[in-house]
Each structure stands twice: as structure tokens, then as C-alpha cells.
């Protein structure tokens, strides 16, 4: 079996792993006993949840076939390696859209299920897993389990958000949602504080399908917690602009040091916050820049230099949301670390079927941090204690460092989940959070 150097989106870890290309959904898993297995889709998880040091990566990139699409019902069946980008290319011209999409369209369907991803409409639609009708799970004992709400429901709930540990998802059936055109009717509102942000969410959650905000993580004192709040809906029929041309550029190289530092951060954030003079603006924006602003700059993760970066994404339960988020922002601003992209979002109360699903009713904060070694890790520990005492949890898909006890207290169902793990599957993430303190 050939080996390949695999990494994840954060580029902190780079692991020589044996690689098996899974080219047909009718194949069975390799029977060799040369290490544990873990599916590897498009490598967009940030930390080590898609890596398996010493094991075999089951690459699903070649499982990229559609199986059926019914433009009358919006039900799509496809193999698990199909990218969301491919789905959009197929269905948007036919008046359909993903029910839930994360912030990048370069993830596979299998990855979207295994991480139970969520998007800007979480408060209305729940997670990706809420819109999965069924999928096929290939287990190492050779079984092809069909999992749905009526069949093998226990494996259905374990696999949604199950981090690829329950077996290989070979194909899935998902429900899409109707749209009239590819445009989003978007409003951007400047806010001054976390209080104002929460008030805007409350005011908007009912009438706007998509809400999200960019928060200035470099500002302190009076301007702590300021940012830009975005709310939008799919534009109705007739409200549209001309042809949209997809643009993308590639970040061309890995700079010797991170281009994100205290100086550039302060400058960018101040400029970005002031990019609009008015309190509120309204525009018609194509769905690509609206949902996937970062997909326009391919390989942007190189900007953090050779050390890579971590993302810290937590969710704090509603009742402690305001205090904990303010505390986190204060801590981050004081550290001078952080990144251009800091996202604040209120998650809704729709429960996902997934046992280890990340979102919960509350406030979620996500930020990237260049990997600066101990200094970064010490700050993470301080953030961890705020999250932990507020009863919050971190997102495994984004994580490459959380202490085991934070995972275990954040995901109380991990004990029940264990019995559904395929005995031949494992991941670096899983071993880390189950074995470390």
C-alpha cells in the first residue's frame, strides 16, 4: 500500500500515512491488519479528526458519482466523495439549493455528515444531518448497513457527527430546498457590542433565514465586541441581477512567517469594520461570495506560514452566552492574537439526530489563530476554562488540541457512542480526546 503525506486544513500536522483509494462503492474494505482505518474526504477538517497516524486513510475522492436527482422533490442521491460544490453546480440552475451549507463548498457529502456541519441558517433548519434521509455505511465486517430514521436508527444517529469512526459512508440521500434564483437579499448592520449583536439576532431570527456576524476580535475597551451583522434570505423570483462570474485566486505560496500578526490584525479589522459608513446597507449578493467568501481565495490556509494555524470554535449555552462571549473576546483582544475572520453566530434549538453533534441552542464563536507554540496553547487553556465553566463545548471538526476532559464533558453521549465505533476504525483525534486528560 502506498504512503502519502496527509495534512488537514490547519496545516499544523503532516503525517505520512498509508493511503487506499476507494474507487467504487461496491468494493469492500481492505482486509489487511496493517493498521486502523479512517475515511479521508477532502481534508477540510482543521485539526486531527481526519487524520490517523499509523493507520490507513480511505480516500473517498473517487467516490464522486451522482446516483439520482429528482428535480420535482429535491431529493438527491450521490456517493460520499461528491463535493458540495459539485452539487451546487448541478442543482442551482434547476432551482434547488443545499438545505444546510458550511462556510466552504469544498467538503464532501460524507464529511458533511460525519461532522454534522451547520451553517448560517442553523436557527431555522438545524444541521446538515437533519436533512439526510439515509446513507449506506460500509462496516469492516463486510456489512453494507442502510441507515435512516426507520432503519438502523442507532447507527444513523451515531454516524451523523460520528467523525468517520462508525464505518465508511459510501452513499447518501439528502433533501435539498427550493430557491428562485442564485441571489441573496442581504442586509449588513454595524453593531457596537455583544449586547447589540444579541438583540439583532433576536430581532432577525424569525424573518431571516441566514444570520451571521463578523466580530472585530482586536478591539478592546469601549469598542469590545463590535462587528458587522449580516442577515439575508434567498431572493424571490424576479429579484435578481445579471450573470455572475465565479472568481477565484490562489494564495501562491507559504510565506516564511505568518502574515497574520498583531499589527496586520489591528489594521485589517479597523479598516474592515469601517468599510461601511452607514449603520445599515442592503444589497443583492450572489450565493457564492455570501456563503463562501473564503473559497474565492484558494489555499488561503497558506497565509499562516509554515507553522499552520488552529481554529477555536466553541458554542456556549444560551443562558451564559452573553457573559462568556464577552469574556472570551476580552481575553482574545488582550492576547493580541486572533485573525481577520472571527465569526459570531446564534445557534437555534433544533436538535440534530447526531449523538456527537456540535451545535446547541446558544452562541457560537469561531476564530483562527496562527500557531505560535506555547503562547497560543496557553491562551487556549484560558479560553477553555471560560467555555467549560459556561457549560459550552468545542467543535471536533475544527479542533487539533482540546484537552480530553473538555471533550468528554462537552459531549456526554460519547460513552453511548463508543459501541457504534467500527472495531477497525480510529483517528488521531479520537485517541487524543479519549486517552488524554
Amino acid at each position: 500500500m502506498p504512503t502519502q503525506s496527509l495534512t488537514s486544513w490547519g496545516r499544523v500536522l503532516r503525517i505520512e500515512q498509508k493511503v487506499l483509494t476507494f474507487a467504487s462503492r461496491f468494493d469492500s474494505l481492505p482486509d489487511s491488519s496493517s493498521g486502523s482505518l479512517l475515511p479521508y474526504g477532502n481534508g477540510r477538517s482543521y485539526g486531527d479528526s481526519c487524520l490517523n497516524a499509523g493507520g490507513i486513510a480511505l480516500k473517498t475522492a473517487a467516490l464522486d458519482r451522482f446516483i439520482a436527482f429528482d428535480p420535482a422533490t429535491g431529493i438527491l442521491r450521490c456517493e460520499s466523495g461528491v463535493l458540495l460544490a459539485e452539487i451546487l453546480r448541478l442543482v442551482v440552475p434547476q432551482g434547488w439549493f443545499l438545505s444546510v451549507t458550511p462556510g466552504t463548498r469544498f467538503v464532501t457529502v460524507g464529511g458533511a455528515i460525519a461532522n454534522d456541519v451547520h451553517g448560517k441558517n442553523h436557527h431555522i433548519t438545524g444541521t446538515f444531518g437533519c436533512h439526510v434521509h439515509q446513507f449506506e455505511l460500509l462496516r469492516s465486517d463486510g456489512q453494507h448497513l442502510i441507515c435512516s430514521r426507520t432503519e438502523n436508527f442507532d447507527y444513523f444517529t451515531a454516524t451523523i457527527g460520528g467523525l468517520g469512526l462508525t464505518g465508511l459512508i459510501t452513499r447518501a440521500e439528502i433533501q435539498l430546498r427550493r430557491i428562485s434564483n442564485p441571489w441573496i437579499d442581504l442586509e449588513t448592520i454595524r453593531y457596537e457590542s455583544v449586547d447589540e449583536f444579541l438583540a439583532l439576532c433576536e430581532e432577525s431570527d424569525r424573518d431571516y433565514e441566514y444570520t451571521v456576524s463578523w466580530v472585530d476580535c482586536a478591539s478592546k475597551g469601549n469598542s469590545l465586541g463590535r462587528g458587522l451583522f449580516m442577515r439575508g434570505n434567498h431572493a424571490p423570483a424576479g429579484v435578481e441581477r445579471g450573470q455572475y462570474f465565479s472568481k477565484s485566486r490562489t494564495f501562491p505560496f507559504v510565506p516564511p512567517v505568518s502574515m497574520v500578526n498583531a499589527l496586520s490584525l489591528k489594521a485589517f479589522n479597523t479598516a474592515y469594520y469601517h468599510k461601511q459608513f452607514r449603520k445599515k446597507t442592503r444589497q443583492l449578493q450572489h450565493y457564492e461570495p455570501f456563503f463562501y467568501p473564503l473559497d474565492g481565495l484558494l489555499e488561503w490556509n497558506r497565509m499562516y506560514g509554515p507553522g499552520g494555524f488552529y481554529q477555536y470554535q466553541c458554542v456556549i449555552p444560551v443562558e451564559y452566552g452573553k457573559e462568556a462571549i464577552s469574556e472570551l473576546l476580552k481575553e482574545i483582544a488582550q492576547s493580541g492574537m486572533g485573525s481577520f475572520l472571527a465569526v459570531l453566530k446564534v445557534c437555534g434549538s433544533i436538535a440534530s439526530p447526531g449523538m456527537l453533534s456540535f451545535p446547541m441552542a446558544g452562541v457560537s464563536l469561531a476564530l483562527d489563530f496562527p500557531n505560535q507554540g506555547d503562547k497560543t496553547h496557553q491562551m487556549f487553556s484560558r479560553l477553555d476554562s471560560i467555555v467549560s465553566s459556561a457549560g459550552g463545548r468545542l467543535y471536533p471538526a475544527k479542533d487539533g488540541r482540546m484537552p480530553g476532559n473538555l471533550f468528554r464533558s462537552g459531549y456526554p453521549r460519547h460513552q453511548a457512542f463508543k459501541q457504534y465505533i467500527d472495531p477497525r476504525f480510529s483517528s488521531s483525534f479520537w485517541r487524543r480526546v479519549m486517552e488524554s486528560t
Binding site: M1, P2, A23, A62, F66, I67, C78
Partner: protein
């Protein structure tokens, strides 16, 4: 709208090329050995917009079956104007050296079956005085190297055959396109360590489509292989024999 026959339709390169044609609205007749895999690809192409996809199970080495297959293709698509021959196996050089039987089988799969198919297709296209035939050969056919000269010599036969055929059919308005891919990251080459010179099947698919539209004669895929092979071909035998390529 073209009417296209693809032999070896489950190969990664053929599948990538078929997707381009499906999206363009061409009609496809897919031939391969494995029914399950063939149907999975046909379903995918239908979803991607292909107005008509037919499948046909056949082992290319079953030369007796070629006529029936071609008749079925012409019947079901009401004619044919384009053919892509993409089937093949990557021979295990070491194993072939130890087995005459395996050697013969690899030559049959990679060369003789292609020539048998081309003979029939050429006559039909010559009569209808139109059409495009693309055949996937390989850079390996440009010069025999100890690491894979069996595969290479089979592909050399294909390259030479298509060269002659191109001349013959030119008068009838039929174009013959010889595709010479370099390293392509497909299940066939899963065991190899990948590097800078490797291309994806999608890249090769786009090159094939473009070459067929422009009716090119010989196309290296990607282009830089033309220069690499030119250098390799220029090395004098007295030096070449000492190299470990």
C-alpha cells in the same frame, strides 16, 4: 450533439471525459466488463445531463463479440460519429518476465484488442466518410524502458497502428487522435507514489476533449510530456542501456 462510443468506460480517464460530454448533451454508449460499475457511471452521467446513456458489458479481449457490440451501439444511438478507446491494464513487468501466458494476455489486452476494434470501426467510419476516433496510448510507448517495456511495447503498437490509420482515413474525412498520457492519478496507478509530474483524470479528460474537437493527430497529456519524451528518445542506446529508468 455527438453519438459517442466509449470502450473501457469504467476507466478513470474515460469517466472524466464522459462527464464533459454528458454535460454538453452528447449521447453515450458505454462498454466495460463490470456491470455494477458501468451502471453506477451511467446513472451519474444521466444526472449530469446526458440525454441518452446506454451500457453494454463486454470484455475487449472477446474479439468475436466486437461486431455485435458495434451493431448494438449503432442501433441504439442510431449511428455513431465518435469513438474513444480507453481500456487497458497496467502490466506488472516483473510478473510478465516470468510468465509467457501473462505476457501474451497483456499484449492482447493493451494492443491486439485495440487493433481489432480499430479495424472494424475504421471500415465503418470510412464508409460514412465522417467521424473522430481517439485512442489512449501512452508515453510509455515512445521508448522501451526496463521498468515497463511490456506495457510500453503494446502501447507502441497502438501508436504506430493509429499513425498509419490516420493517414489512411484522412482522405475519408475521418480523424484519428492518439492520446499519450504521462502519469495519471487513477486506481490503475494507486500503488505509485505521486509527485509533481502527476495529473488528474479530469485534466486528461479536458485534454482529450479539446484534442478531439481540434482533430489533433498526437497529443501528449499534459503537454510537458512531449519535451520529456523528446529528451528520453534522444539518448543514444549505448548510454540508455546503462540507465535505470
Amino acid at each position: 450533439m455527438k453519438k459517442i462510443l466509449i470502450i473501457g468506460a469504467t476507466s478513470a480517464i474515460a469517466e472524466a471525459t464522459a462527464r464533459i460530454w454528458a454535460q454538453r448533451g452528447d449521447q453515450l454508449f458505454l462498454v466495460a466488463r463490470n456491470k455494477e460499475k458501468l451502471e453506477a457511471i451511467a446513472d451519474d452521467l444521466r444526472v449530469r445531463g446526458c440525454p441518452k446513456v446506454e451500457t453494454y458489458c463486454m470484455d475487449a479481449n472477446d474479439v468475436e463479440g466486437h461486431v455485435a457490440m458495434l451493431d448494438a451501439a449503432e442501433h441504439l444511438l442510431s449511428g455513431l460519429d465518435t469513438v474513444l478507446i480507453a481500456h487497458g491494464t497496467l502490466s506488472d513487468q516483473q510478473a510478465c518476465q516470468q510468465s509467457v501466458e501473462l505476457t501474451m494476455r497483456e499484449i492482447t489486452t493493451n494492443a491486439l484488442s485495440v487493433i481489432a476494434l480499430l479495424t472494424l470501426i475504421a471500415n465503418r467510419f470510412e464508409l460514412q466518410k465522417t467521424g473522430t476516433i481517439a485512442v489512449i496510448s501512452s508515453v510509455a510507448g515512445d521508448r522501451g524502458r526496463q521498468s515497463n517495456y511490456l506495457y510500453g511495447s503494446a502501447k507502441a503498437m497502438v501508436t504506430t497502428f493509429t499513425s498509419g490509420l490516420r493517414q489512411r482515413l484522412f482522405k475519408s474525412g475521418v480523424s484519428v487522435v492518439t492520446i499519450k498520457p504521462g502519469f495519471v492519478d487513477t486506481p490503475m496507478t494507486a500503488e505509485f507514489k505521486k509527485g509533481l509530474l502527476w495529473a488528474s483524470p479530469e485534466t486528461i479528460g479536458r485534454i482529450i476533449d479539446k484534442a478531439m474537437l481540434r482533430k489533433c493527430a498526437v497529443v501528449y497529456a499534459p503537454w510537458f510530456w512531449m519535451w520529456i519524451m523528446m529528451i528520453i528518445k534522444m539518448i543514444p542506446e549505448c548510454i540508455f542501456k546503462k540507465l535505470s529508468l
